[in-house]
């Protein structure tokens, strides 16, 4: 057992309707963390109604059949709870962390938000306006905007091309009846996992969850499934110009599905490239001084993982920095990583894993995520061993298949004119 999971022995229980409840005792702190995860998100959206999942999720905190938005927020915050519904490309859900003595009340409130949102018309209009503001705001953040552009360039049809919050046009189009219908189809117990990690008795935590989510007693019909899409044959570029000091650039590649052995190989490869001791930082920033920020990230997804890269540089260095980045990607496609470098990267990856796993919120979220995505909650404990088994050959082969330099997405947010000096 890895040190990070010391004493964490998750057990799974099947609730009515097929709801999976994963429970683990952890007595390190008087905190309990809950993760409610459900398959269904941007991946299942239609383009015209892009952002419907996100807006429906946002409405979870805007009032239930029993209490209004203010009462909900007031009660949860009075308990000192940290709580947040979320939406991703594949999933929706909510997380909760709270002092364990307040768990029963906080969990009831969270379940009420998820199961009984009221979608009050007045609240909906207010939340819609806020979401529209946030969509505009995201375009002020160079890297976030460049990544959105990059992924929109990578995919032509698959919903992964759509931003989580939708577009100005699609969010304006969403009607209350759409949201109610969509929410009614989303939370199906057979597509859901609730994971709890806390310092209470396992049976007590299990019973609290089963009771709170008891109304979910039967599975719902499936959600619309997207058509698969193959990687592009040529690089696809999207640029926007803003009055800025530096260039924000992002690249997107289609990876393998999660879970898969190839995904793990790319997970290790991402670590070879990313971070302050990774090749990109060492080569592009440290050795050649081509930019302040550079990084890589692999996001697990059901259909195809997203392998993304970002680079912040000056307008004058843009082309040479991009060429330098592509050169590093070419290198991992052509030359296997040495055993020595792999050993270092592996230790770093596993160390970061152990450090992140100090938090119960991370433990609960990962248990729920792995279980829901089909890897099984046991994958959490097996993760270090699976990483240790990744070979240089597997990484090379995964890079050749998935880091396709002949076709990728590229997004750039550029300054209007050559960078002027700051004050």
């Amino acid at each position: 057992m890895s040190p990070s999971c010391r004493g964490l022995s998750p057990r799974m229980h099947l609730g009515p309707g097929g709801l999976r409840i994963v429970v683990a005792e952890n007595h390190a702190t008087p905190i309990t963390a809950v993760a409610v995860y459900c398959l269904g998100g941007v991946r299942n959206e239609r383009r015209e109604l892009s952002g419907i999942t996100h807006l429906a999720q946002r409405m979870l905190l805007k009032g239930t059949r029993r209490r209004d938005a203010e009462d909900l927020a007031e009660e949860l915050e009075f308990l000192g709870a940290r709580y947040a519904p979320f939406t991703s490309k594949d999933l929706v859900g909510a997380t909760l962390s709270v002092l364990s003595r307040n768990l029963p009340r906080a969990l009831d409130l969270l379940a009420e938000c998820i199961l009984e949102p009221a979608f009050l018309p007045e609240e909906l209009e207010r939340e819609r306006r806020l979401v529209l503001t946030e969509i505009r705001r995201r375009q002020d953040d160079g890297f976030a905007y460049a990544m959105d552009l990059s992924e929109a360039a990578l995919y032509r049809r698959h919903p992964y091309r759509l931003p989580v919050a939708g577009t100005q046009a699609s969010v304006r189009r969403l009607e209350r009846k759409h949201l109610i219908r969509w929410h009614g189809r989303l939370y199906s117990p057979d597509r859901m996992v609730v994971a709890v990690v806390g310092d209470l008795r396992a049976s007590q935590m299990r019973d609290l969850v089963a009771e709170a989510f008891a109304p979910l007693d039967r599975p719902l019909p499936g959600l619309p499934e997207p058509e698969p899409e193959e990687p592009p044959e040529t690089p696809r570029l999207r640029c926007r110009r803003r009055a800025r000091q530096h260039v924000a650039l992002a690249l997107s590649f289609m990876g393998p599905p999660f879970p898969s052995p190839e995904f793990l190989a790319l997970d290790v490869l991402a670590q070879v490239l990313a971070g302050m001791s990774g090749r990109l930082f060492t080569e592009l920033r440290d050795r050649r001084g081509l930019g302040y920020a550079v990084g890589a990230g692999l996001e697990p997804r059901r259909d195809r993982a997203h392998f993304g890269f970002h680079l912040g540089t000056s307008l004058e260095h843009r082309q040479v920095a991009l060429q330098g980045l592509l050169e590093e990607l070419r290198r991992v496609r052509e030359v296997p990583v040495s055993r020595q470098e792999l050993a270092k990267v592996r230790r770093h990856l596993l160390g970061l894993f152990a450090i992140a796993m100090q938090r119960k919120a991370v433990q609960a979220s990962r248990l729920a995520f792995f279980e829901l995505m089909g890897a099984g909650h046991g994958f959490l404990e097996g993760y270090p061993e699976a990483i240790r088994r990744v070979t240089p050959e597997a990484m090379l082969s995964a890079a050749q298949t998935h880091l396709r330099l002949e076709g990728y997405g590229c997004g750039q947010v550029l300054p209007h004119a050559p960078s002027r000096s700051s004050r």
Binding site: A28, T29, E70, A73, R82, E127, L130, R285, Y292, S314
Partner: protein, 417 residues
């Protein structure tokens, strides 16, 4: 959660804090140096942050860039930051590597090379960092706000420094800065994790035996002259959303009013049910985000209000904030609001205790302010605050004439005359 904190002072005055915490096999080690932008002048602005960068650019036993790679290869990470008050180099690693990282961090902090060529190159990196900050609207807005509120006091200068000053800064200045301030009476080492206190203390004592006590601590800046009228700055930029930020001077952490100021931030602007968020976001839908925070260290402290909003709402939101401040200064918080703020503070404290790096950060931060027990003490002080004190803090400090306000917005959206 673990043992008590063991604190020892070495003959040089260097303070060592160790806490045994067991849930995970990891340890956090942090070196704190009591030097930051507060101790700088217009002539050397940014030198502390520059020196922090240069710690990664080679030391007697480690060529440039090696420290990061070494710590990563142990399965951990290392980072550093500079604030108004201090510089901190910290890492988290699997606890079996404690000995290695103690040696590596001590060597890095005590014997940096500070070579001319590396320093010249690093200036370029810092200028890039500066430009990137300019492209982050919230951070840039806060920097302009601090400049407006503190025309004389160093809070008004960015920690990263001034471009003109940095361009001509030399490695020999860095070496002198290092000699003067990286000294025993100005430093603390904090170790938290799955370790044993006694041998750790002994090892640190050996590693740092050659540290000299140094001269007197850096002097503190003169206070800013009191403000008598509202200050306003209106900035245009190619943005999609607008930002509104306000600053009010408040007393520092050691003032009897500090806990009341903390609760004031909580009641006004922490969470959806706080007064400003409830009104401006939840009820009126005028802002996409609003929050308050009280910056409480040594004197002086300040209170911030920070909003993101559509530019057409700037005027209404500013008016709404002043109305809410006025109402709270008149009626005070309810008993329920007080209890909610205390519950929130208690939860935050416990959440921060979940990781070794969180515990180490809290310990080091308060030790540099004078006493590591201040964190827990502050939670106890919060429990004792009465609602009249919060009312009084609001009435006395969050006054229109003491306020500095910045609107950072897209062009064309004229707001307040």
């Amino acid at each position: 959660m673990g043992s008590d904190v063991v604190r020892e002072v070495l003959p040089s005055g260097l303070r060592v804090l160790v806490q045994e915490v067991y849930p995970a096999s990891v340890v956090s080690v942090a070196f704190w140096i009591g030097i930051g932008s507060l101790h700088e002048t217009d002539g050397n602005a940014g030198i502390s942050h520059f020196l922090e960068h240069m710690l990664f650019k080679g030391s007697a036993a480690r060529p440039s860039g090696t420290l990061t790679r070494e710590i990563h290869a142990l399965g951990g990470y290392v980072n550093a930051f500079t604030s108004f008050e201090s510089t901190c180099l910290w890492c988290v690693v699997p606890s079996r590597h404690l000995e290695t990282v103690l040696e590596a961090l001590a060597e890095t902090v005590l014997h940096p090379l500070l070579e001319d060529l590396e320093a010249e190159r690093e200036i370029g990196v810092i200028l890039d960092e500066m430009r990137m900050r300019q492209d982050r609207p919230e951070a840039w807005c806060t920097q302009q706000l601090l400049r407006l509120a503190y025309p004389r006091h160093p809070y008004g200068r960015p920690v990263i420094g001034l471009e003109s000053v940095l361009r001509s800064m030399t490695a020999s200045q860095l070496r002198a800065h290092h000699r003067a301030h990286y000294v025993g009476r100005n430093m603390a080492v904090v170790v938290v994790g799955d370790v044993q206190a006694a041998p750790t203390l002994e090892r640190i004592g050996d590693l740092l035996a050659t540290v000299t006590p140094g001269q007197a601590l850096p002097s503190r800046p003169e206070p800013e002259s009191p403000q008598e009228a509202l200050r306003r700055l209106d900035l245009e930029q190619d943005l999609s959303s607008a930002h509104l930020q306000m600053l009010f001077p408040v007393p520092g952490l050691f003032s009897p009013e500090a806990p009341a100021c903390d609760l004031l931030a909580s009641v006004l602007g922490e969470g959806r049910s706080s007064r400003l968020c409830r009104r401006l976001r939840e009820r009126e839908g005028l802002v996409s985000r609003v929050g308050c925070s009280a910056f409480l260290e040594r004197e002086p402290g300040f209170f911030l209000v920070d909003c993101t909003l559509p530019p057409e709402n700037l005027k209404a939101v500013e008016a709404g904030i002043f109305e809410e401040l006025e109402a709270l200064g008149r009626e005070g918080p309810t008993a329920r609001e007080m209890q909610k703020a205390r519950n929130r503070a208690e939860s935050t404290f416990v959440f921060n205790q979940e990781t070794v790096e969180g515990i180490a950060r809290t310990l080091g931060h308060f030790e540099m302010l004078g006493d590591h027990t201040l964190a827990q003490l502050h939670v106890r002080r919060l429990a004792a605050v009465r609602s009249e004190e919060v009312l009084a803090a609001c009435r006395d400090h969050l006054r229109t004439e003491r306020c500095s306000v910045v609107h950072y917005r897209p062009p064309g959206a004229r707001t307040v005359s």
